[in-house]
């Protein structure tokens, strides 16, 4: 007996009713519904040259203008970049090439440069690193978000993820982990040289991190006092750092874990060649460009060793547009794809004329 075969079928019978015509009135005839008979209203697109022609032309016609727009926008962005790694022996920073993390006194060097064109709008000052794999799997993991979020317990007991940068001299490291430990610690200063006088340019160090990072994700440890030194009591600085985290900046709202340079560094870059926002140069008034054309000098406190792994360090000055920094790729891509689609559209038109007729008129003489 198929008693265990189709339980459902048995359930609707009348097992005890001997002689009762069970299920006699109930037909097994399937319902005649659109769903069960697979007759739902349906659209059956047929991809033929004739039907997709418009799509290709439309794509082409939309993409090309967009591409041009992006390309022009990108080209209008002013950008100036200096590689100050010092691998070249002629470079002023060549002397600093082999610094270590905590060399005292710090090695400094100055690089002069000339801007040919003025930077009209707000200027963003970046430091750029190449060949630096901030996306390394083990590197990315090496942090403790809850410590950075101001959790007092995590502050003293960093997560295992931070190993081996969680304890130093039997004290917990704050902030722990390899990311924090390898924080970029060069100092860049910009001077305008006007008739041999060096005028420092005001570099704004706030507002460079994501608002949510600064205000939500990163928090200093909580406590009664505003004294960060006390709050970080019992922790020690990361191995590579010259000074502890509560001495990153003089301003309280930019010190400790909520130091924006620190926050920017902690947002690990996706690609091995990256730039990170360092300072903002705001436009003072509408009369003068933010950076006039002319001579400038860049003072570097060279602390960050990259030569050992063939890394490069750069300073970048850039204005930005609605679509971010200078990048011609997207514009070119749009133009290219648009053109290809347009071209394919033409090809399909030809094909349509050649073959399409056969499908419509020859088969269906009308």
């Amino acid at each position: 007996m198929a008693v265990n075969y189709n339980a459902k079928e048995e359930a609707d019978g009348h097992p005890s009713g001997v002689g009762v015509p069970g299920g006699a009135g109930k037909s097994r005839k399937p319902d005649n519904t659109a769903f069960k008979q697979q007759r739902l209203p349906a659209w059956q697109p047929i991809l033929t040259a004739g039907t997709v022609l418009p799509a290709f032309f439309i794509i082409g016609l939309i993409f090309i203008p967009i591409g041009i727009g992006i390309f022009v926008t990108s080209n209008n962005i002013r950008e100036y970049e200096i590689d100050y790694t010092g691998t070249d022996s002629s470079s002023p920073c060549n002397k600093c090439l082999n610094v270590s993390w905590n060399s005292t006194p710090p090695c400094t060097c100055t690089i002069n440069f000339t801007l040919d064109q003025p930077f009209e709008t707000n200027v963003f000052m970046y430091y750029g690193l190449s060949n630096f794999y901030q996306n390394h799997r083990r590197y990315v993991k090496s942090r403790d978000d809850s410590q950075l979020n101001g959790d007092n317990n995590s502050l003293l007991h960093p997560s295992k993820e931070c190993e081996p940068y969680s304890m130093s001299e039997n004290k917990p490291i704050a902030p722990c982990g390899a990311i924090a430990n390898s924080m970029f610690n060069d100092t860049l200063e910009l001077f305008r040289i006007d008739n041999e006088t060096r005028t420092p340019i005001t570099l704004n160090k706030k507002g460079i991190a994501w608002w949510t990072d600064k205000n939500v994700k990163f928090r200093n440890p909580s406590g009664n006092t505003n004294n960060l030194t006390a709050l970080f009591q019992g922790t020690t600085k990361p191995v590579n750092w010259p000074k502890p985290v509560y001495m990153l900046d003089s301003e309280t709202d930019n010190n400790g874990f909520i130091n924006e340079d620190f926050i920017v560094w902690m947002r690990t870059a996706a690609l091995p060649t990256f730039r990170k926002l360092y300072r903002l140069i705001e436009r003072k008034n509408n009369l003068q460009p933010t950076l006039q054309a002319g001579k400038y000098s860049l003072d570097i406190t060279y602390n960050y060793p990259v030569h050992s792994f063939d890394g490069r360090k750069r300073m970048i000055l850039s204005t930005i547009s609605w679509m971010g920094g200078k990048n011609p790729f997207l514009g070119i891509a749009y133009i290219t794809v648009g053109s290809i689609c347009f071209f394919l559209g033409v090809v399909l038109l030809v094909i349509h004329h050649k073959y399409g007729n056969r499908n419509t008129s020859a088969d269906i003489p009308n």
């Binding site: 007996m1 198929a2 265990n4 075969y5 339980a7 079928e9 048995e10 359930a11 009348h14 002689g19 009762v20 069970g22 006699a24 005839k29 399937p30 319902d31 069960k36 007759r39 739902l40 659209w43 059956q44 697109p45 047929i46 991809l47 040259a49 997709v52 993409f63 992006i70 390394h136 590197y139 990315v140 993991k141 403790d144 978000d145 979020n149 959790d151 993820e161 390899a178 994501w210 949510t212 939500v216 994700k217 947002r267 690990t268 996706a270 960050y304 050992s308 920094g325 790729f329 997207l330 891509a333 290809i340 689609c341 394919l344 349509h352 399409g356 419509t360 020859a362 088969d363 269906i364």
Partner: protein
């Protein structure tokens, strides 16, 4: 108290604790008990000899099919789930995440998908188990009467409380709760009727017998007095076998047979009360041991898929290795430099490159785990479940008559249906309805053609075809519903009258009640109402009158003329030589409670003596029965050699004397006539219902009844026949020698009431009977006459066979008392022997069935099922090769093959009949050579003239198939052909033939043929059949289909799919199979990232496409964000988003049909992604480090670049695929796409097309046939397929269908011409009629074609009846044209036809207007009309000539 000595092997899956104990206990027991089981009454007090724990609960009747208990569910289910490799892999990956050195994701996160999948499966299992539990419970709590020792009566108990050794009383219509040995029955003969429909689906009642010794008890059976011990075999699943013996207290043993056993699940019928002892209970009953549940087969797609999964594993490993080595090198290149971003290990040391590589390898496995589409398996399960649901729900696969729909028994091979290349079909019951209709007969050499009967049958056929036609006419499904009221009434009527309760596969005990309300099988009016042949009826009446006169004058019956006596005997044989039971459906038979003196079949010698002794008549019935008991007790057991031979001989001698003159006995039949009115509860004929084991028998009995020779009652010892004038005759039934397939005949031994002779009536296959006839010498005139009769009969038999009728010969033998007595002796010995009883009985039957006197022969028509020819035609068009494997004889098989359009009349048929291996080898070689030469000729033709292009753009898979060849092979030759040395030759011959017909094949041969094709040709095979003889073939084939018909459930039980009708195969294969396959294949490919029909190279195409797409998805964001301040998550999120868009759009390109579900699921997916991303990214700033993308999505959605990337990347990624699809759709469109295009056109245009495209109208709304064909042969060359598909429409469209390249039959050029003229007549005629709607005319011409088809089937239909509609077209010429082209005609017509086509063709080739030729054809026809229209009817009855156009017309027309 039963000791079940067998181990736990046969027990159900679950062993309870106690069962385990028992098993252990049993193991220690003696070995010798392991073969049998001993059953004692439970009512006995534990005796001294019972040394074992008596109340062992071993085999109680509780049904437990659940797998789990509340406690064991979790561990057990988990354990079972881990048997699946996929789950193990999943868990392995998840656990890998817990290793800090290699983990990629948060371990808890990684566990989530595994847990989800495990949970879903567990919940599904739990639900299934629960519903099993519920149904178990329901069955366990059914009640039955069990004898209770304390109360001394039968008490109601639950089924689950029944134990082995209990006594159970069953009433009529109750369901049997366990396997019970029948000990007592209310039936005076100790019989019990059971219905086994639940078990095997056979609707006829089976007789069961009380164990012999208990039958002879005079008093009521008292369970308390039952002291015997039953020894029987251990539980097994063989329904047709039960052996054992019962040991009485006296030490005597009686054999037990399956006739003594009532099986669980059957229903007691026609018997008031039975009592028995439980032998097997619960899971040890045969019914439950037989239930294996759904089967698991792996589909071809799945097998291919597994290979691809392996490839995926390989790719994964390669990718991981690549990454790992690259990583190792990268780490190594830094050497001692220690970059700032490299993190030392826990101990402060940096990882060595090698170790880093190893770690990375493992990490990469985690990262790339999605490459192995584990979820694919889960998804496939879900998709298949849905497909099965839809197949079940298909209205077109539902059979109104039997109220059954298709069942998928194997749930996981739905998609294989779409890949079939070969179909092996049984004939009887599969192609034909297995509804036997008496057509004609011949008695003593004179043929009675039963014209009126044939006309009547034609009426039924017409009714059928009308229905069919209306169904077909409604092109779309919705139209089909609106059948005209007239037809729907007819449908209802039919469904009511023919509601035979063929049970479909569910043998659920619970449902059996519904059967009761239904009627018995084989009782459609078509089979019942037979119009007698007036001549024969007259003769029967005359014969009866004569007999009446003779009886009243006490004249010996031999005065009857031989012919009349033959007729008389013929009908008597038809009536009684069977096992038909006369019943009325609702009530049990009311029998006289008086015991008859006659016990039958004759069981003992003393019984025989008693019965043939006149003095017996005087003795009272009661005393005789009691005395017989005493004698039998005093006598030693028959069959044992104790009976001294001398005593036997003397008794026999004595009895012979007595038999020689016993005049009183003459009237025995008559005298009892009055007293026994109660036999057969309903004297009025109309209410009698015949329940036959086979439809043939029923057909014959109904036929005899039509001649007023009605079977009115059958008991085990007598048969009553109602005759005109003579009234009721009662034949004493001495023996019934049942039908078996080796003897191919059955016989009854009766004592004739009129002559008091002992007659043997034999009915069987003509080939057998003809050999057993009494040889007659040609010298003496009577012998000569007899010989003439024999040869005449043989001629008629051949004729019948040609007409596709099933033939049976009826013969008779008169036994002298001596002969009988000597035969009886050996027969009784055979019957009572315990070892090889069957063999001995067989021998015994052979001895009596010799020297027969031929009475006549019958021709029974086995009608084709509805829609069989159409189905076969469509299946063949779809490229399937259909073979018929039948046990029938060659002529019948060939005729059925013609009837169902498997063979065309202009096909060349190769018939292989060989007597030895050598000759078959030679024959095969010869045929191959012949075909070879033909084939080469054809190719030359093809290249040169382009006039005879092979027909098969749409037909069989191998290109070398010849449409014009049919192969017929008989069983004997098949046996040689299947020999190792010849099988290759046979195959290469067979695959070149369009149709193959194997006749006279045994079940084993059937399965061997299937196996041969499956293994050697590597083709997908489907076997369809309905009977037990098809089971082996069904099991061997890739897909087995059972027809749930009246032949029982064996085929269904063995099958993967069960359909009610053969015609359902069409939609099942062509629509559902295709859908399932293409849907699943699409899904699988999509999962393998990701297309069309599944082909090995498509996998790699998809892989390359996937690679391209992933490169696009990576590098566009890469270059966009190169050297920017982008962080890990702000870069990763766009990539994910792009990937999602790409995937969904990819799916959109591949989606062929868009319904609401598609739209909503696509939109839902995208919305879900964004919502989840937004919510997740906003909810938790510090969760799940390091994967903590806090606020990323929010930030990204504020940046235009994100949107720009999201737009361009999918476009770039999908451009190649989109382009490919477009080009394919434009330059190489599949038929499917063409069909869809057609479907869009305005209706008038659309209606025009079918003719041009030669596509059958019906299929247009769905799919043109070629589309079905192309995807179905994944192995066949794709481009070939495209070409084939393209050629058809293009070539035809270019010209009016008169193109020389018009795909037509290779052979007959004139045929082409004819079909050309035939195909446009509708439009042309209408054109002449000055623009009636073109569409309308098309409609008509198509309808015309369908009708055509029916006409060819029923040759005797008149023209006017065929064309009921009114057309303004000249009706006579129109219908005549059709008539001529559609019916097998005789040569006279043929010649005319031959003329006109030739003329036509000339004109056609000149590309002239066809109209002229048509009109010339008209003239020809008009001329003919006058001459021949009156003669049509008769001439058509002539044998079909080889000049037949109908099928050709058909093929080209479609």
């Amino acid at each position: 108290m039963a000791q079940d000595a067998e181990g736990g092997e046969d027990a159900p899956q679950v062993l309870k604790e106690e069962e385990k104990e028992r098993k252990n206990r049993r193991r220690s027991k003696r070995k010798k008990e392991s073969k049998t089981r001993t059953v004692r009454s439970n009512l006995l007090l534990p005796g001294p000899e019972a040394e074992k724990p008596q109340r062992s609960p071993l085999a109680n009747n509780r049904l437990k099919t659940t797998k789990y208990t509340a406690l064991s569910f979790l561990p057990k289910n988990l354990f079972e789930q881990f048997h699946r490799l996929a789950n193990v892999y999943f868990v392995f990956i998840a656990l890998l995440n817990f290793v800090p050195a290699v983990n990629a994701f948060q371990p808890v996160l990684a566990l989530a998908p595994v847990l989800f999948i495990l949970a879903v499966t567990a919940i599904k299992d739990l639900w299934e188990d629960y519903s099993r539990y519920r149904s178990d419970n329901e069955i366990n709590h059914m009640e039955c009467l069990v004898y209770c020792r304390n109360e001394k009566k039968y008490m109601n108990r639950y089924w689950k409380e029944v134990e082995v050794g209990d006594f159970i009383q069953l009433r009529c219509n109750e369901i049997i709760p366990a396997d019970i040995l029948l000990l007592s029955s209310s039936d005076p003969d100790g019989l019990c009727h059971i219905e086994t429909a639940n078990l095997d689906g056979e609707t006829n009642l089976k007789q069961r017998q009380v164990v012999r010794r208990f039958l002879e008890l005079d008093s009521e059976f008292d369970p308390l007095k039952f002291t015997s011990v039953i020894e029987c075999e251990k539980p097994n699943n063989d329904l047709s076998r039960f052996r054992g013996y019962i040991v009485h207290k006296s030490g005597k043993r009686d054999g037990l047979y399956k006739e003594n056993l009532l099986l669980r699940g059957c229903t007691v019928r026609n018997t008031e009360e039975v009592t028995g002892i439980v032998i097997y209970a619960g899971h040890e009953t045969k019914a439950l041991l037989n239930n294996s549940g759904p089967r698991y087969k792996r589909s071809k797609l799945e097998r291919q898929m597994n290979i691809d999964v392996l490839w995926c594993v390989l790719i994964l490993i390669v990718m991981c290795l690549f990454s790992a080595i690259g990583h190792g090198l990268w780490v190594w290149q830094y050497g001692e430099k220690k970059p700032a971003f490299s993190v030392p290990g826990l101990d402060g040391n940096y990882l060595s490159p090698v170790l880093a590589a190893v770690y990375l390898f493992l990490t990469m496995i985690i990262v790339f785990q999605v490459l192995i589409p584990i979820s694919l398996y889960v998804s496939i399960e879900v998709v298949k479940a849905c497909q099965v649901f839809f197949i079940h729900q298909d209205k077109d696969l539902y059979d109104e008559e039997t109220d059954s729909q298709l069942q998928c028994r194997a749930l996981n091979i739905t998609e294989d249906l779409g890949q079939m290349q070969y179909i092996f079909s049984d004939k009887t019951g599969t192609l034909t309805e297995n509804k036997m209709v008496f057509r004609r007969c011949t008695v003593s050499g004179i043929e009675y053609s039963h014209d009126a009967n044939a006309r009547r049958l034609a009426m039924y056929q017409e009714a059928d075809s009308e229905e069919e036609e209306t169904a077909a006419k409604g092109g779309t499904l919705s139209q089909r519903n609106s059948v005209s009221s007239h037809q729907s009434i007819k449908v209802v009527h039919r469904s009511l009258s023919m509601k035979s309760h063929r049970r479909t596969g569910s043998r659920a005990e619970a449902k059996r009640a519904s059967i009761l309300s239904k009627h018995t099988a084989f009782s459609s009016p078509m089979e019942k109402d037979i119009t007698p042949d007036p001549n024969l009826l007259e003769k029967v009446n005359e014969c009866a009158r004569n007999l009446e006169v003779m009886r009243s004058h006490e004249q010996p019956l031999s005065q009857l003329t031989p012919e009349l006596s033959d007729i008389f005997d013929f009908f008597i044989a038809l009536t009684i030589c069977n096992t038909v039971v006369v019943t009325s459906p609702d009530q049990p038979r009311q029998k006289v409670r008086v015991r008859f003196e006659l016990k039958s079949p004759v069981k003992t010698i003393e019984d025989f003596i008693r019965r043939f002794t006149p003095s017996r008549l005087t003795s009272g019935s009661n005393s005789s029965s009691s005395s017989s008991l005493t004698t039998s007790k005093s006598m030693p057991r028959v069959g044992s050699s104790i009976l001294s031979s001398t005593s036997t001989e003397s008794t026999l001698l004595k009895l012979e004397e007595k038999l020689a003159h016993s005049p009183q006995m003459n009237n025995n039949g008559y005298s009892s006539q009055q007293d026994r009115r109660a036999i057969g509860s309903r004297p009025e004929e109309g209410e009698l219902r015949y329940e036959a084991e086979s439809p043939d028998e029923a057909a014959l009995v109904y036929a005899a009844r039509a001649y007023n020779c009605a079977l009115v009652g059958r008991l085990s010892d007598q048969v009553s026949v109602e005759l005109p004038h003579l009234g009721r005759l009662t034949f004493e039934l001495l023996h019934t020698l049942g039908f078996d397939s080796i003897r191919k005949r059955m016989s009854v031994v009766v004592r004739h009431p009129l002559t008091d002779e002992i007659n043997v009536y034999t009915k069987g296959a003509d080939s057998v009977i003809m050999d057993l006839l009494l040889p007659c010498s040609s010298d003496d005139p009577r012998g000569n006459h007899q010989k003439k009769i024999q040869s005449k009969t043989q001629n008629y038999l051949n004729l019948y066979a040609v007409d596709g009728l099933r033939t049976l010969c009826i013969a008779k033998r008169v036994l002298s008392k001596e002969e009988y007595a000597s035969w009886l002796k050996s027969h009784l010995e055979a019957e009572s022997s315990i070892e090889n009883r069957e063999e001995l009985l067989f021998q015994s039957a052979l001895r009596i069935e010799t020297n027969l006197h031929l009475l006549g022969a019958t021709g029974i028509e086995d009608r084709l099922q509805d829609g069989v020819p159409e189905t076969i035609a469509n299946l063949r068009k779809a490229g399937l090769q259909i073979w018929i494997l039948t046990g029938d004889k060659q002529e019948t098989a060939i005729n059925i093959a013609y009837a169902c359009k498997l063979l065309d009349h202009d096909e060349e048929i190769i018939t292989l009949n060989a007597e030895s291996l050598e000759t078959s080898a030679a024959l095969l070689d010869h045929c191959l050579q012949y075909i070879e030469s033909k084939f080469s000729n054809n190719t030359i033709d093809k290249t040169a003239g382009n006039t005879t292009v092979g027909f098969c753009p749409l037909s069989p898979p191998s290109s070398s198939v010849h449409s014009s060849l049919g192969l017929v092979i008989d069983g004997k030759t098949l046996a040689y052909a299947l020999d190792k040395t010849l099988e290759d030759k046979f195959l290469s011959l067979a695959r070149r033939c369009c149709s193959v017909l194997c006749c006279r094949s045994t079940p084993l041969q059937k399965s061997m043929v299937v196996k041969l094709v499956r293994d050697k040709l590597k083709a997908m095979t489907l076997a369809i059949g309905d009977g037990a003889n098809d089971v082996s073939m069904i099991q061997v084939a890739d897909v087995g289909v059972g027809i749930s018909g009246p032949e029982g459930m064996q085929a269904v039980m063995a099958s993967d799919f069960a359909v009610p009708r053969f015609r359902h195969l069409e939609k099942l294969l062509l629509v559902h199979g295709h859908w399932c396959y293409s849907r699943l294949a699409n899904m699988v490919l999509y999962f393998f990232y990701k297309n069309a029909e599944y082909q090995p190279h498509m996998f790699w195409m998809n892989m390359i496409d996937a690679l391209y797409q992933s490169l696009v998805c990576f590098y566009i964001p890469f270059f966009t964000y190169y050297d920017s301040e982008v962080d890990l998550f702000s870069w990763g999120t766009p990539i994910t988003t792009i990937a999602l868009f790409t995937i969904i759009l990819h799916l959109a390109i591949e989606t062929k049909t868009w319904t609401l579900f598609h739209w909503s699921s696509c939109i839902f997916s995208i919305l879900l992604f964004f919502i989840v991303a937004l919510v997740y990214n906003a909810s938790c700033p510090i969760c799940y480090p390091p994967s903590n993308p806090y606020w990323t999505m929010e930030k990204l959605m504020g940046e235009p670049v994100f949107y720009l990337i999201c737009i361009i990347s999918p476009v770039v990624a999908l451009l190649p695929r989109f382009l490919y699809r477009t080009l394919q759709g434009t330059v190489f469109p599949t038929q499917l796409q063409l069909g869809r295009q057609l479907n869009r056109l305005p209706p008038e245009t659309r209606n025009q097309i079918p003719n041009r495209l030669n596509i059958k109208k019906e299929t247009i709304p769905q799919k043109p046939p070629c589309a079905e064909h192309c995807p179905q042969n994944p192995k066949s060359n794709d481009s070939d397929c495209f070409k084939a598909c393209n050629q058809t429409p293009s070539s035809q469209s270019s010209q009016y269908g008169n193109d020389p390249a018009f795909p037509s039959n290779t052979k007959a050029e004139h045929t082409t011409g004819l079909s050309v003229t035939a195909s446009p007549p509708g439009s042309l005629l209408c054109g002449g009629e000055k623009h009636s709607s073109v569409a309308n005319s098309q409609e008509r011409s198509l309808g015309f074609h369908e009708i055509t088809h029916n006409t060819s089937e029923m040759e005797s239909m008149s023209v006017e009846e065929t064309f009921p509609w009114n057309t303004t077209v000249d009706q006579s010429s129109f219908s005549l044209l059709n008539w001529i082209t559609s019916t097998p005609l005789f040569s006279r017509f043929g010649r005319v036809l031959q003329l006109s086509p030739h003329r036509l063709q000339n004109e056609v080739q000149d590309n002239m207007c066809v109209l002229g030729s048509i009109s010339s054809l008209h003239q020809d026809f008009k001329g003919l009309t006058g001459k021949n229209s009156n003669d049509f009817q008769e001439q058509l009855k002539g044998t079909p000539t080889n000049f037949c156009k109908s099928e050709t017309l058909e093929t080209t027309f479609l």
